[in-house]
């Protein structure tokens, strides 16, 4: 998986006169994902992480830029020949309460993609595949004929995971898969995803706002801020020696579960600026403790800092 200057703009209407304005939700993103790797895409709300995920899943067209899957360019999503590729890329959504059709039984929900992609010769064979997949996510045969509302949030998310697995995908995009769940259930789903990744030899993109979830699950992590990727880093390097000032602030802002590690005062200052009216230069500059003159006029590009991290920051570049 590879993206090249991928960009998504939305037209929005604002104000009393409903003037049309343009916002850039995904701003020239370049991201590679290697086979059987789990990459985390983290950032605060509105940073464009979900939009990027939806473009990769083929649910939204990109405004410009390209993306490649196993060397094939698949930016144009309507083409028929891309259907095979579409099967290989699946997505799991945040809210298992709205992502499952309430009028369909679990068996219907899971057989539908099999029919769409013409997998399995007949109904009997399809039922067999449904059963096997259900088992692989820790559900039982008797659950087949039930409706989504009969399940708890955790079970529903298992069904959603099963639906993405059933077509034998190679690449799964997980959009905040556990943020609607309670902690005790979240840990079940996180463990499940680690297991299926190994069992099904999957490549994953995990979209999350929770850095501790990313740390548990990912090999590499990309940090987004206002539509731009500001850091791509190996997991351990990101947590142990964060280079970008935004990453540092983000990491320090997360409350620790050990009261001995309390901080005395707030780490961060300011708020995320509006995409309607972004600052010139580096978007993080207004909040950045390392801000220099150049940051206000020019946007930094992603550059390699060391073998583990690339980073878009003039201050980091200068130090090097």
């Amino acid at each position: 998986m590879k993206t090249q200057d991928l960009r998504k703009e939305f037209q929005v209407r604002v104000g009393f006169l409903q003037k049309e304005r343009k916002i850039t939700a995904v701003d020239n993103v370049n991201l590679d994902i290697q086979q059987s790797e789990t990459v985390g895409l983290v950032g605060e709300s509105g940073c464009g992480k979900t939009t990027l995920g939806r473009i990769l899943a083929g649910l939204l067209p990109a405004t410009s830029g390209k993306f490649f899957y196993r060397g094939n360019e698949i930016t144009e999503i309507k083409k028929k020949k891309n259907k095979q590729i579409r099967r290989e890329i699946q997505m799991v959504f945040q809210d298992p309460f709205s992502s499952l059709n309430p009028r369909m039984t679990v068996s219907d929900i899971l057989s539908r993609p099999l029919k769409v992609f013409k997998i399995g010769k007949n109904a009997k064979e399809r039922t067999k595949i449904v059963l096997e997949t259900l088992e692989s996510v820790g559900m039982k045969t008797e659950h087949m004929s039930r409706y989504p509302h009969e399940f708890s949030g955790g079970q529903r998310q298992r069904i959603a995971v099963a639906r993405s697995l059933i077509v034998n995908p190679a690449f799964i995009i997980l959009d905040e898969p556990t943020s609607a769940l309670d902690v005790s259930v979240q840990s079940q789903i996180l463990n499940l995803m680690v297991d299926i990744k190994t069992n099904f030899q999957l490549t994953m993109l995990l979209i999350t706002h929770d850095l501790s979830v990313a740390r548990f699950q990912c090999d590499r992590i990309a940090v987004m801020y206002m539509g731009r990727i500001v850091v791509i880093s190996d997991k351990e390097a990101l947590f142990n020696s964060p280079a970008h000032p935004y990453t540092k602030i983000l990491l320090k802002s997360i409350p620790r579960t050990d009261p001995e590690q309390r901080r005395k005062k707030a780490i961060s200052t300011g708020e995320v600026p509006s995409l309607l009216n972004p600052p010139s230069g580096c978007y993080f500059a207004p909040r950045c403790p390392l801000k220099m003159d150049i940051c206000e006029t020019k946007a930094p590009e992603l550059k390699r800092v060391n073998e583990h991290q690339t980073c878009a920051c003039f201050a980091v570049e200068k130090e090097k």
Binding site: S184, S253, Q261, R263, A266
Partner: protein, 328 residues
């Protein structure tokens, strides 16, 4: 020393079309002046019901207070008449909510909303009320109070709105602030600022706070004491340092270990099997027993009472985790 607030054996049920919801069962805890108490629990644990009961904003019916007392400054809040309670709510006990956009009225400017509250509780005119509102906004570190006062709620960011809510809640010098998931809708960097603000307010005006959350990190960050709730019961109640070092209740212990750590990488997370109970049909005995590794026969029949097993360490469990085996 007399507690500022003491909740004793609170039992609340809801009569719904589907049947009776056994929402709270013998909930007890207390809070001293100047303390921050965290109430932590998952969906349906009863934490929000408890908070609403203290401020008497539960709709009765469908809610029914079956039993219990809520002693605030020496008097039982549940015994107050409606008019008496109206004088206490907002004046002595204030509350802020998860989503400040729904708590603020979208068609009035911040100026009007804040000064209305001040004028309701104090004998001041509009001009002085606005002046007071300006001072409050300064206190919650809003950089340009006059400008914010002149705005509608939708023109402010989530973090700003929550600051306005806190300023409004504190404008009448309340003694108790109940914060129901105040940072759940916010990003971590903003959450960090709001938590720091709550701590600062506690220090500056000596207010007591009940902070309701599902996020253990938030509790560990700013609370002095913590009550862990599960399925409508308090299962463990102690100070935060004790709880993180030696949780005795199997649920608290399991919960602590189920949180993915941000400061180290681990291979496998601890899980608690099953999911939270449906309180239309709560399990008999201890409500946690179907998911509990330590469950005994007795746990299935008899609900364990909340007992003080060490000084200021209360648990409701017949077969607690032994010291040395815990350590969240």
């Amino acid at each position: 020393m007399e507690h500022l607030l003491e909740v004793k054996n609170l039992k609340i049920q809801f009569d719904t079309e589907e049947g009776t919801v056994y929402a709270l069962e013998n909930v007890s805890f207390h809070l001293n002046k100047g303390e921050i108490l965290g109430i932590i629990g998952e969906t349906g644990s009863g934490k929000s019901v408890t908070a609403s009961a203290i401020n008497r904003i539960l709709p009765v019916p469908p809610a029914r207070i079956v039993n219990g007392e809520i002693i605030f400054q020496g008097k039982d809040v549940l015994q107050y008449k409606r008019e008496e309670m109206n004088k206490i709510r907002g004046k002595k006990i204030s509350m802020i909510f998860q989503e400040p956009m729904t708590a603020l009225n979208p068609v009035f400017k911040i100026k009007e909303q804040m000064s209305d509250v001040i004028m309701h509780h104090q004998k001041v005119n509009r001009k002085n009320a606005v002046k007071q509102a300006t001072q409050m906004l300064e206190q919650v570190r809003i950089p340009d109070p006059e400008m914010v006062l002149d705005k509608f709620p939708h023109e402010l960011s989530g973090g700003m709105r929550q600051r306005v809510m806190i300023a409004t809640a504190l404008s009448c010098e309340a003694d108790l602030l109940i914060a129901d998931e105040p940072t759940t809708a916010l990003d971590v960097t903003t959450q960090d600022q709001i938590l720091a603000l709550i701590q600062e307010m506690r220090k500056n005006i000596d207010i007591s706070v009940i902070l309701i959350t599902h996020d253990f990190g938030v509790v560990a960050e700013i609370c002095d004491k913590v009550a862990v709730m599960y399925g409508g019961t308090v299962v463990e109640f102690t100070d935060i340092y004790t709880l993180t070092k030696k949780p005795y209740h199997p649920y608290s212990n399991g919960l602590l270990k189920a949180i993915p750590p941000v400061d180290k990488t681990i291979e496998k997370l601890n899980t608690i099997p099953g999911s939270v109970p449906n309180l239309l049909k709560p399990p008999t005995g201890c409500r946690f027993h179907p998911r509990c590794e330590n469950a005994l026969e007795k746990c299935k029949i008899d609900p364990p009472p909340l007992k003080e097993i060490e000084e200021n360490h209360f648990i409701a469990c017949y077969n607690p985790i032994k010291v040395g085996e815990n350590n969240g």
